[in-house]
C-alpha cells in the first residue's frame, strides 16, 4: 500500500507598494483632511489601509480592506461621547469636592476601556480584511478577555512589573489564537519566560554596546512574534518563519533615517514602503494547507468603535 505523505506547498507573502504611490495617498488624504478641518480623518485612514492591504499579496492574490470612512466615522462619534462621559464624571466628582475618587474613577474607566478596545478593534479589523473574498474573523469573548486582562494586570502589579512579559505574551496568545481566516485557525505559541529573557538580554546588551545591539534585539523580537505563529486547518498547518537579520534592520534604519532627514520628512512614504517590503520579504510560510480550499466561515462586523478607541489611545495593532 502506498503511504500518502502530506504534500508540502509553496507560499509567498509580498508587499508591492511603492513610495511614490503611497506618497500620493498620503498627500491627497492630507489635503482632504486639512480642507475639511480634520473631519476627513476616518476616510483618510480607510484609504490608507485599503492601499496598504491591496498592495500585500499571498501567492499573487491581493489582500483587501473593506472598512469604510463612514463606519469609522460613526465609531469615532461614539468614542467621543464615551470620552466626554468619562471626563464629565471626573468633573462631577471634582465639583462634589471628591477629587481623589474622581481621579480614581477616571483612571479605572480608561483601564477598563483597554481590553474592550482591543476586542472591538480586532473584531472590526479582522472582519474587514479578506483574501480571495474569504474574510478574516476574531472569535474572542469580550468578557473572557476583560476578566483575563485584569487578572494579568493584577499579577503584573503584585510582581512589580515582572509579570508584564507574561501578560504581553498571554494577551497575544489569546487574541491571535482567536483569529480565523475562513476555516483556518491561528495559533500563537510564544512563551512569557522566553519573552522576558529575550528583553532582559536585549536591554543589557544594548547598554553594553552603546545602543548598537538594539537592531539585533529588534530582530529577536520580530522572530519571537513571527516564528511562534501557526495556521491550522483539518490537521494541516502552516508555520511562519522569519529570516530578518540584525544587519538588515540596521541598514533599514540608517537608510530610512537619511531619507527622512534629507527630504525634511516628505520621504516618509518611501521609508514606510521600504520597511514593509523588507518585513514581508522576510516572512517565509511553510506547511501543507491547501489555500485553494478555504471556506468562508466568518461573519460581517461593521462597528468600528473599538478600532477608533485604539487609534485615539495609540494602541499598536498586533497584526
Amino acid at each position: 500500500m502506498e503511504v500518502i505523505s502530506p504534500k508540502v506547498r509553496n507560499y509567498q507573502l509580498r508587499f508591492h507598494g511603492t513610495g511614490s504611490a503611497f506618497f500620493s495617498v498620503i498627500i491627497v488624504n492630507w489635503l482632504l483632511t486639512v480642507i475639511t478641518l480634520g473631519l476627513y480623518y476616518p476616510w483618510a485612514k480607510a484609504n490608507k489601509l485599503k492601499y496598504l492591504y491591496g498592495e500585500t499579496s499571498l501567492n499573487d492574490d491581493r489582500f483587501a480592506f473593506h472598512g469604510t470612512g463612514k463606519e469609522m466615522f460613526k465609531g469615532f462619534i461614539k468614542v467621543l461621547i464615551l470620552f466626554a462621559l468619562i471626563y464629565g464624571l471626573l468633573f462631577l466628582f471634582i465639583y462634589l469636592q471628591m477629587p481623589i475618587i474622581g481621579i480614581l474613577v477616571f483612571y479605572c474607566a480608561f483601564l477598563a476601556i483597554l481590553p474592550l478596545a482591543i476586542h472591538g478593534a480586532y473584531r472590526y479589523r479582522m472582519s474587514r480584511t479578506s483574501w480571495r473574498g474569504i474574510r478574516f474573523g476574531y472569535r474572542g469573548q469580550r468578557n473572557e478577555l476583560f476578566a483575563s486582562f485584569f487578572k494579568w494586570l493584577l499579577l503584573t502589579i503584585i510582581t512589580f512589573g515582572i509579570y508584564g512579559s507574561w501578560m504581553h505574551v498571554n494577551l497575544r496568545r489569546y487574541v491571535l489564537g482567536n483569529v480565523r481566516f475562513g476555516d483556518i485557525e491561528f495559533e500563537y505559541r510564544g512563551d512569557g519566560g522566553d519573552y522576558f529573557l529575550l528583553n532582559l538580554k536585549g536591554y543589557f546588551l544594548t547598554i553594553i554596546t552603546f545602543g548598537i545591539y538594539i537592531f539585533w534585539w529588534q530582530k529577536e523580537l520580530f522572530d519571537f512574534y513571527v516564528n511562534n505563529l501557526w495556521l491550522e486547518k483539518d490537521g494541516e498547518s502552516i508555520q511562519l518563519n522569519s529570516t530578518v537579520t540584525g544587519g538588515g534592520f540596521f541598514q533599514l534604519a540608517i537608510v530610512n533615517l537619511l531619507i527622512i532627514v534629507f527630504t525634511l520628512g516628505l520621504g516618509y512614504a518611501w521609508a514606510a514602503t521600504r520597511t514593509l517590503e523588507y518585513l514581508f520579504d522576510n516572512i517565509i510560510l511553510e506547511g501543507n494547507i491547501d489555500l485553494d480550499s478555504i471556506n468562508q466561515t466568518e461573519d460581517n462586523f461593521n462597528d468600528a468603535t473599538g478600532e477608533d478607541v485604539s487609534d485615539m489611545l495609540d494602541l499598536d495593532f498586533v497584526m
Binding site: 506618497f23 498620503i26 491627497v28 485599503k50 499579496s57 483587501a64 473574498g133 474569504i134 527622512i260 485553494d292
Partner: protein, 351 residues
C-alpha cells in the same frame, strides 16, 4: 462592442479559483459572466479595482466579497479606463492625477506654509496681543517676580535711588514702572511685563557714567512699553498651532521638524524685539537730553568685559552689529546734550 475572455472568479464562499468567461460591455460599463448557477452582472462603477503587476483584481459586494482576477492586457486597459471615467469619488479622482502633480502640490503647500509662517503668523501674533487686556501682562509679571525674587537679596537703598533716578526721566511709559536693584555679580538686567524692571549690581559696576544707565533703562522700558513678552508668547503659540494642526496629520517626523524650526524662528524674532528696544531706547535717551554715546558705550563695555557673555546680550549675539547700528544713529539723528546734576548725583549712589 463586447469582448469575451477568461478570468479567475472567487465566489466569496470558498477560495476555490474558478475560470469564467467574461463579457465586457464598454458602453454600459458592465461586466457579465456565467457562474454555476447564475448570471452575474457587475457595474464597473461599483467595483473596487486594484492594479497588480500583470493583472487587476476587481472586488464586488458588501456582504459577500466576490472577486475577479483578470490578466488579459487589452481587457485590463479597457476596464481601467472605463473605471477612471466612472469614478465619482473625490479621493480617487485626486489620486488619478498621478505622482508628479502630487509632488508639485506637496512642494507648493510646503512653500505656502513657510511663507504664511514667516509673514502671517507674526502678524496674527501681533494683532492678537491687542485683544489681551494689559491686566494679563501684570498677572504674568507678578507671578514671575514672586517665583524668582524669593531667593535673591534686594538692595533697598540702591533700589530707592534707582526709582528716584527713573522719576527724573521721561520714559514714554503707559503703565506704572517699578525698579529693583538685586545684589548679584551677574551682568544682567531684565524687564517684566508688569512694569517691574530688575537690575543686577553686576551690570551697575560696569558703568562709568549716568548716560549708560539711562541707555539701559531706556532699552528695558521699551520692552515693557511695546509689550514684547506678550507678543513673544502670542507669536510662539500661533506658530505652534499652525504647525501642529497642518503638519500633525501628515506624520510625526514633519511635525517635529516644524516644531524645531518654530523655536529657531522665535530666536530671530526675539532679535527683532531687541532691535526695536534699542531704537525706542535711543529715542528715550535723546528725549531726556542725555548723551546717546552712553548707549554704544554700554554695549562696548559689556562686550569687552572679560566675564562670560552677559545674559542681557546673549540672546542676541550680534552685539557688534548693534553697536554699529547705534553709532550710525548717533551720526544721523540730531540731539542735544544737557548735563543733569541730579541724575549724576543719584548715579553715584546707585553705583
Amino acid at each position: 462592442m463586447a469582448e469575451q475572455l477568461t478570468a479567475i472568479f472567487y465566489d466569496g464562499k470558498s477560495s476555490v479559483p474558478r475560470t469564467v468567461h467574461l463579457y465586457f460591455d464598454k458602453q454600459k460599463g458592465i461586466l457579465s459572466f456565467q457562474t454555476e448557477n447564475q448570471e452575474q452582472l457587475w457595474e464597473i462603477k461599483s467595483v473596487t479595482l486594484t492594479s497588480n503587476k500583470n493583472s487587476i483584481t476587481l472586488q464586488h459586494g458588501k456582504a459577500l466579497f466576490q472577486q475577479l482576477v483578470i490578466d488579459d492586457p487589452e481587457l485590463i486597459v479597457a476596464i481601467e479606463s472605463s473605471k477612471r471615467a466612472a469614478t465619482t469619488n473625490l479621493y480617487q479622482r485626486l489620486i488619478n492625477y498621478g505622482f508628479p502633480l502630487h509632488a508639485l502640490v506637496a512642494l507648493l503647500i510646503l512653500g505656502l506654509i513657510v511663507l504664511s509662517y514667516l509673514y502671517v503668523v507674526p502678524w496674527i501674533g501681533e494683532k492678537s496681543v491687542a485683544l489681551i487686556p494689559e491686566e494679563y501682562d501684570n498677572k504674568l509679571g507678578d507671578a514671575f517676580f514672586d517665583q524668582n525674587m524669593m531667593f535673591t537679596s534686594v538692595d533697598t537703598a540702591r533700589s530707592k535711588a534707582l526709582n528716584q533716578f527713573a522719576q527724573e526721566l521721561k520714559l514714554n511709559n503707559t503703565k506704572k514702572l517699578h525698579f529693583t536693584v538685586v545684589t548679584s555679580e551677574t551682568v544682567n538686567a531684565f524687564a517684566l511685563p508688569n512694569g517691574n524692571i530688575v537690575v543686577y549690581t553686576g551690570i551697575l559696576k560696569e558703568m562709568k557714567s549716568y548716560d549708560e544707565l539711562v541707555a539701559l533703562l531706556g532699552h528695558e522700558v521699551s520692552h515693557v512699553n511695546e509689550r514684547h513678552a506678550m507678543k513673544m508668547m502670542c507669536r510662539n503659540l500661533s506658530g505652534y498651532l499652525l504647525i501642529s494642526t497642518i503638519l500633525g496629520d501628515v506624520n510625526g517626523v514633519m511635525a517635529t521638524i516644524g516644531d524645531n524650526i518654530n523655536s529657531l524662528q522665535s530666536l530671530s524674532f526675539s532679535r527683532a524685539f531687541e532691535q526695536q528696544a534699542d531704537r525706542e531706547g535711543f529715542k528715550i535717551v535723546v528725549a531726556n537730553k542725555v548723551n546717546p554715546r552712553g548707549v554704544s558705550n554700554l554695549f562696548k563695555r559689556l562686550e569687552d568685559a572679560d566675564f562670560a557673555v552677559p545674559e542681557f546680550l546673549s540672546s542676541h549675539p550680534m552685539t557688534k552689529e548693534r553697536i554699529r547700528y547705534i553709532d550710525k544713529m548717533i551720526k544721523t539723528e540730531s540731539y542735544q546734550i544737557l548735563e543733569n546734576p541730579k541724575l549724576k548725583s543719584l548715579f553715584k549712589v546707585i553705583k
